[in-house]
């Protein structure tokens, strides 16, 4: 398994990094929070023009067909910049779901629009508290959905949603058709979420033969993209802390010269490097559709969640009192780390997925 990202991908990634460094300032993020804006539409258009949205969409549907590793590379940069874009919802969830489970007509209808950024998609699985998909109440019958999905990421912006209904069944809902959206107050103020209320809302069936399996594969894929987003963000929080401690003097020495500070950051570095190694393996497994994809996805997700949560917390702590101020910008990561840790299911859920995969493999070997 070659874990290496080739030169083309590396170049793409650097381009994205330059773009986001230039366009996503802390001032922009603070402004978006104050104005309750869900994203930066101009930046979204630029991202679309650069072909970032269609990287893993096949060329026949208007994408560039660069492949899944390109999405991983882009997601890493999105995480690093805490980019205010519905990239994860629209590309890593909705487009992936349509690719996996959509009928040809659905693919033709939506993938080109998602790849061009003209439409924004989302994926509606959760119904309030608790683990995803236990006791799904939303019903899909006779081309209509009834039920409440919440929280749904970027649902206020989205044009289309893939909706998990009882069964499980998957349905594709054009959100312009009679869906009520209620904004939610969330812990992460930068990624907007809403409740989607379907009341006999027209929708299309996504008649994939085995929806359960399609969902499993979707979560595996999304988990890998999320791991890259977390990884980029973790590295960003780590360097932010490092830079602050280099510049801050206390008791006549650079804060960065204290062993407790150094060891704290060294431990984070270890988590980040483990996360990167596991994420790279999972990306390779994803592109190869390897048989151990499930275990690789869970491994990548667990490693990345741990790295980001730790880096985000310690970044705030290492900034001391300054970190607690709005202007110090540590809070973007402090909040985002929690969102990404839970949005696809908490570590407990992924630990279970991992152990199940390993147990199955062990039983097969015995």
């Amino acid at each position: 398994m070659d874990l290496h990202f080739g030169d083309e991908l590396k170049q793409l990634q650097e381009e994205v990094r330059r773009l986001l460094t230039e366009r996503v300032s802390a001032n922009l993020l603070r402004r978006l929070i104050s104005e309750d804006e869900g994203y930066d539409p101009a930046l979204w258009r630029t991202a679309a023009e650069l072909g970032l949205l269609g990287a893993a969409v096949p060329e026949q549907y208007g994408g560039s067909g660069l492949g899944e590793r390109a999405v991983c590379a882009i997601a890493e940069e999105m995480g690093r910049a805490v980019a205010p874009l519905p990239f994860f919802s629209s590309i890593c969830l909705a487009a992936e779901a349509i690719k996996l489970a959509g009928a040809p007509a659905q693919k033709s209808a939506w993938l080109p629009r998602l790849a061009s950024g003209e439409a924004i998609g989302t994926f509606a699985w959760q119904e309030g508290l608790g683990p995803p998909e236990t006791d799904v109440d939303a019903r899909f019958e006779n081309g209509r959905i009834s039920g409440v999905k919440s929280p749904v990421p970027d649902a206020l912006l989205a044009d289309v949603a893939v909706v998990v209904c009882e069964g499980p069944r998957l349905a594709l809902a054009d959100l312009s058709k009679g869906v009520r959206r209620e904004p939610l107050r969330g812990f992460d103020q930068l990624r907007s979420h809403a409740k989607l209320v379907f009341e006999n809302t027209p929708a299309e069936a996504m008649d994939v033969p085995d929806p359960k399996d399609a969902l499993r594969r979707l979560y595996d894929r999304a988990a890998i993209y999320a791991a890259f987003e977390q990884l980029g963000a973790a590295e960003s929080a780590m360097f932010m802390a490092r830079d602050y401690t280099l510049q801050r003097y206390t008791f006549g020495r650079q804060l960065a010269s204290y062993q407790a500070v150094k060891h704290n950051l060294a431990n984070i570095l270890v988590m980040v490097e483990l996360a990167r190694s596991n994420a790279l393996y999972a990306a390779a497994a994803l592109e190869a559709d390897a048989p151990d994809l499930g275990a690789a996805a869970a491994t990548a997700r667990l490693a990345a969640t741990r790295a980001y949560e730790t880096a985000a917390r310690e970044n705030l702590q290492l900034h001391g009192g300054v970190g607690f101020t709005w202007e110090a910008d540590c809070h973007f990561h402090y909040r985002r780390a929690r969102l990404l840790a839970l949005s696809l299911g908490s570590p407990a859920i992924w630990e279970n997925r991992l152990i199940e995969a390993l147990t199955k493999k062990n039983a097969a070997a015995a």
């Binding site: 006549g252 009192g321 300054v322 607690f324 101020t325």
Partner: protein
């Protein structure tokens, strides 16, 4: 799990009855917890303090003229225990007054000074703020740059203070300023009481990551302080500051040790979420319980030692260390229990906002009153007798790296 209260001594039970009766008559409106808007909280806090003073409960160990009754420390704790059964209003400006300012002035100031500042405070006429930290002097408080220059019988102060909580509601501030930059940094500091109505003081709110602004930056421009408000000798401000910090940390630990039985709340939450059969949930709850009870029992040991006139166990610094980290972990846990949905506060679950706030606030708790790293240094040095790290700052203040260059 409530621990059995210590058996009250005979002579104390009468006092406890008196307190209970008085509270029943006077604090009835505070039976239930309420959240007041900021201005009302301040007004109610001062009014409640005034009422206590009129009944001789203002500061029990003081004489009646000062709003007390010449009582004992034991009586003061009885009153505190009984008052804690109510939700009486106490805003931070009074906590600073009684927890930090008055004990320090009593110890380091002249009796005249103590009386001058204690009387309006105990009678509910004055709240206090603390003007210590600066943008470039946090853990390294002695690195502060605010200058006070003597001008006959008065001092002219210029500088910038930060984290001065509720400064806009304070009548007085305790201020630490540099009066001699040519000596080693700890030796050039002096401690003052600043009348917050003096011209030249500008208080600006700091927006916090919680979105709130409990703290301020305070800019001091040619502010005049009479020498009569200097507490302790010129250049001896560090000793006064240490007294303040000791009291602050002790206060923080007291609060931590009387925290509500939070693990029992976590247990109920886990039960409600159907997660109490998970061994990893059990393991976490057990660990937090061990910490919570450990701090509570540590607090009992401290109190018992003080009551017997013995030296309390020296590891007091651990209380905030343990409780702040636990606060961060437990509030993350409460989000985790709800999975994705746990990150959102729908109208039917307003308590979730409180979880978010506490998770945010824990990060301040891990810094305020001594960062975790500083507390660990202290435990190692003061309790275990390990050496301090090599110091690079034993030079005149104005020759320090980071000062010289700026």
């Amino acid at each position: 799990m409530h621990q059995t209260a210590p058996p009250a001594r005979i002579d104390e039970s009468a006092f406890r009855r008196e307190v209970r009766a008085w509270l029943a008559d006077n604090a009835a409106e505070y039976r239930e917890a309420r959240a007041w808007p900021e201005a009302e909280l301040v007004a109610r806090s001062l009014a409640w303090q005034k009422r206590k003073a009129e009944a001789g409960f203002g500061l029990i160990t003081e004489p009646p003229g000062l709003g007390g009754r010449d009582g004992t420390a034991a009586m003061a704790s009885i009153f505190a225990e009984e008052e804690a059964r109510y939700h009486t209003p106490t805003f931070t400006g009074l906590g600073i007054a009684f927890g930090m300012a008055l004990p320090t002035i009593r110890k380091h100031g002249a009796p005249e000074q103590y009386r001058r500042f204690a009387e309006p405070t105990i009678k509910g006429e004055a709240a206090w703020c603390q003007l210590f930290s600066e943008p470039s002097a946090g853990s390294d408080l002695a690195g502060l740059r605010t200058r006070a220059v003597r001008d006959g019988e008065r001092w002219i102060v210029n500088g910038q203070k930060v984290w001065s909580s509720w400064a806009h509601h304070a009548r007085f501030g305790i201020l630490l300023a540099r009066t001699d930059p040519t000596v080693v940094k700890h030796q050039g500091l002096t401690f003052f009481v600043l009348d917050m109505r003096t011209p030249g003081i500008e208080v600006r709110p700091i927006r916090q990551i919680s979105g709130k602004s409990d703290f301020n930056e305070t800019f001091l421009t040619d502010v005049v302080i009479p020498d009569a408000n200097r507490i302790g000798a010129e250049g001896e401000g560090w000793a006064c500051a240490m007294t303040v910090l000791m009291n602050e940390r002790h206060g923080a630990s007291e609060r931590a040790s009387v925290s509500h039985d939070s693990v029992e709340n976590l247990l109920r939450a886990a039960l409600a979420a159907g997660r109490l059969d998970s061994s990893s949930v059990r393991s976490k709850l057990a660990q937090w319980w061990v910490e919570e009870q450990g701090l509570k029992n540590f607090g009992l040991r401290i109190r018992a030692a003080l009551e017997r006139g013995e030296t309390p166990p020296p590891a007091v610094a651990m209380m905030k260390l343990v409780s702040a980290t636990k606060m961060q972990q437990t509030n993350a846990f409460l989000m985790d229990l709800g999975e994705y949905g746990g990150l959102f506060s729908e109208p039917d679950r307003p308590e979730q906002e409180q979880v978010f706030f506490q998770y945010i606030w824990s990060s301040a708790m891990m810094i305020a009153g001594g960062a975790d790293e500083i507390l660990r240094n202290q435990l190692a040095e003061r309790v275990l007798g390990m050496p301090s790290e090599p110091r690079m700052d034993k030079v005149p203040f104005n020759e320090l790296p980071g000062i010289k260059s700026s």
